[in-house]
Symmetry: C2
Subunit: 253 residues, 2 copies
DNA sequence: CGGATCTTTGACTACGTTCAATTATTGTGG
DNA sequence: CCACAATAATTGAACGTAGTCAAAGATCCG
């Protein structure tokens, strides 16, 4: 785990979308006043049960996932520092998936209604948070393509590059490596593969000099080749300022 | 295609989430004043290009999809009457996927900024539209599980039951059948399978009496067994009224 | 040090793909 | 209205990617 910047990664993320006023910064910081630790391995949002809280993740990794009755599990997405958990919790009576901590987690819990209030009081901030929700959906869409239409080899490489990019944005990856607190089982459940096949695929990626997993660290061997092989394009991950027309419409509110 | 009710399917969908005031109904109807036809087969949102407009679909089917450079295609989700296309278009400079009409389409186009205004003027309506976005994400999540962790047989059955439920909600399916304007190629690109295997899987579903595809119509043979076999649970599709706390928070805005 | 968890490898199986050819269906112009 | 082309569905055969089963090493941690 790393030290965060003064204002936390969420603020950094959102400030790439809108220029934040002091009031808006205060609002986000108010949401991050409470702090709670969640132990690695514990499930803190349960599929089919009511949401308790909405969380902003300060530090650590979690997974959003679903489980079938016979135990088959599918990871939907990883939750990294600066991400929301249960962003839609004010709108749904129960969760449609579970969330579990992969590492010890530090989160900022808040009442779901706090977000409702924020949309009313700080519409520009609301837009930035909505942008974050849209980005989550874009990541999920990429996950569908990855699983549906890429080979195991491409799939695995693509996920690693996606994580590299996401971690760059929150300052948790160096240029060519990052900490990956995942067992091959979690990786398998993310990629829709068996554990054994993930293992063989990682070996092949290593033998080809593309990347190497050593302990819980990934070292990229040849990023260019990896990006080409996986046809990775980072656009869906990158924060852009809101279109001008939207900014205009927002200030008219 | 079918005749819609007086106010259209979107209003029906949203009114299951909040009780709509007259002003709110007027607002939605204002967004549906313009009408445009889009020919079957044409792609009207292009991956990587700027969004032109946001659309509410009045009638017809479309697909949201992505294509890899070698032609492999993955359908993310179907767009049915009452669904939005480009709901996030005010927040992103370019689209992260393409959208194409499967049938002739009737849509209501609007400027993306109209939605921004709506969130400001009608927060409750904004919440209902946000609910719709959350539901789209839930459908996408289910798509990930379907492709990642279900067999071809389960996958295909599960998708058909999902479509049955979605079409029920917009009044486009009878109790045990509906029109399915898809080639087996589109089905294959949705399920992450080859055309040939989709064909064989449909045959198996037919031989087992679960469902039958005749022309462009699906007839469910044994819904109970299909639901059990696919472990289908409709909760992620159903509109529920907003939680009370949210309603309270909304009226305080 | 010793149990538990995780990783790695081999051998075999099977689900799903690819290639190829045949048979509907659909749409269109003569 | 039929002929013909084009598109879509269907089937067979061979192949290959990925899964399953089983067992042996590594690592982690108390």
């Amino acid at each position: 785990m790393k030290t965060e910047q003064a204002h936390g990664v969420l603020l950094r993320k959102l400030s790439a979308v809108i220029r934040l006023s002091n009031a808006e910064i205060d609002c986000i910081e108010a949401m991050q006043r409470r702090e709670k630790c969640i132990a690695a391995g514990s499930e803190f949002v349960h599929d089919g049960e009511a949401y308790e809280q909405t969380y902003i993740v300060k530090d650590g990794w979690a997974i959003r996932f679903k489980t079938l009755s016979d135990g088959r599990r599918q990871v939907l997405n990883f939750v990294l520092p600066g991400d929301f958990v249960g962003l839609f919790s004010a709108l749904f009576d129960v969760a449609d998936h579970s969330v579990a901590a992969l590492t010890d987690l530090v989160v900022h819990p808040m009442e779901p209604t706090v977000l409702v209030g924020m949309f009313g009081s700080f519409p520009r901030l609301g837009a930035a948070v909505a942008w974050s929700a849209g980005r989550d959906e874009a990541i999920l869409a990429e996950q569908v393509v990855r699983i549906g239409r890429r080979s195991a080899y491409e799939r695995t490489g693509h996920l690693i590059v996606e994580l590299l990019h996401r971690l760059w944005l929150v300052g948790e990856a160096d240029q060519r490596s990052f900490e990956l607190p995942l067992t091959q089982e979690v990786l398998a459940d993310t990629l829709g593969l068996s554990i054994v096949h993930v293992n063989r695929t990682l070996r092949r990626l290593r033998e080809n000099g593309l990347l190497r997993v050593a302990g819980d660290r990934v070292i990229i061997g040849d990023l260019d080749r990896l990006v080409r092989m996986t046809e990775f394009s980072p656009h869906y991950l990158e924060a852009q300022p809101l279109p001008r027309a939207t900014t205009t419409a927002l200030s008219a509110v």
